[in-house]
């Protein structure tokens, strides 16, 4: 029996990330967003319908976020809960999360107002904001690989900016790279999880 009470509590917090499904879901979301940006760039940007991008991208993001949440729930039911058990988390106060997100956006807006020429490096902001969110997630559950992904997100944003890409290409490169990194990290975590946790006897739950 495990006697390390602190670790048991920490593991319960971390359990949501044990199977890598969260990273796979978010990574998939980012790759689809990048693909949508690429499609817009190739087929819509230089046409009279370019304004559609401003409508389609936010709608797509909303629909995907909703869809990913449902898909994640279904996958957890089928993959995780049957292997290592079901948990339901307590409603956590979301104030801290919103403060982090709002502060990141505020910082980005203030710096763009003070230094408008920095808007040429939009991908640094995108990578930076995603890095802060990933770092915050990692810090909450003390999960090393999320810190690593946060560093990668920042580097991807900086890399896309240094490459001298236009705004849209820089954004799609940033989202695409971060999405791929999340998919790889999630895929490896899921493979390890499935390998070490064969399905349990249904009667055990």
């Amino acid at each position: 029996m495990s006697q390390d009470i602190r670790k048991l509590m920490q593991d319960a917090y971390r359990y949501f990330y044990d199977d890598g499904l969260v990273e796979l879901a978010i990574g998939g979301l980012f790759v689809i967003i990048a693909a949508a940006m690429l499609a817009m760039k190739l087929f819509v940007l230089d046409t009279p319908y370019a304004w559609l991008m401003g409508v389609i991208l936010p709608l797509l993001l909303l629909a995907l976020t909703f869809g990913v949440k449902r898909l994640l729930g279904t996958l957890k039911e089928r993959v995780t809960y049957r292997r290592t058990g079901y948990v339901r988390y307590r409603d956590q106060p979301t104030r801290g999360r919103w403060i982090i997100i709002a502060a990141s956006f505020a910082l980005a807006v203030i710096s763009l107002v003070l230094k408008p020429e920095w808007s040429r490096h939009m991908s640094i902001y995108e990578g930076g904001i995603l890095a802060i969110i990933l770092f915050y997630m990692g810090h909450r559950v003390r999960l090393g690989r999320l810190y690593g992904l946060a560093v990668f997100a920042l580097l991807a944003g900086i890399g896309a900016a240094l490459a001298g890409l236009d705004d849209l290409t820089g954004s799609l490169a940033t989202f695409g790279l971060i999405g791929l990194a999340l998919l790889i990290s999630g895929g490896l975590t899921l493979a390890r999880y499935l390998h070490s946790n064969p399905p349990a006897d249904p009667l055990e739950a």
């Binding site: 509590m9 593991d11 319960a12 948990v87």
Partner: protein, 109 residues
Amino acid sequence: MTVIDADHEAAWPDLNDVDKLIHEPARLAIMAILSVLDSADFLYLQRSAGLTKGNLSSHLSRLEEAGYVAIDKTFDGKIPRTLCRLTDEGRESFNRYTAQMKGLFERLP
């Protein structure tokens, strides 16, 4: 009497007040896990606390009898699921227990 002796004397009554039901390692593990969750099923508790089915079952029964844990039997499709959660009383007792233990060890020299 030295300062250390006085501290020890003050600490002993607290130790006597410690909830013995929670103080048992397996039950403490179950309570600690459930304290950070809304609920967990039997399988999760068994795996993370590292207990056998029989052991977990018996400790859960003790905690349920004390009113610290509520157990609901539900179905996920055709699969039975035993959901356990801390009651308000259980959560309060666990918080009191951790505060007592922290207070106790803080006073050690």
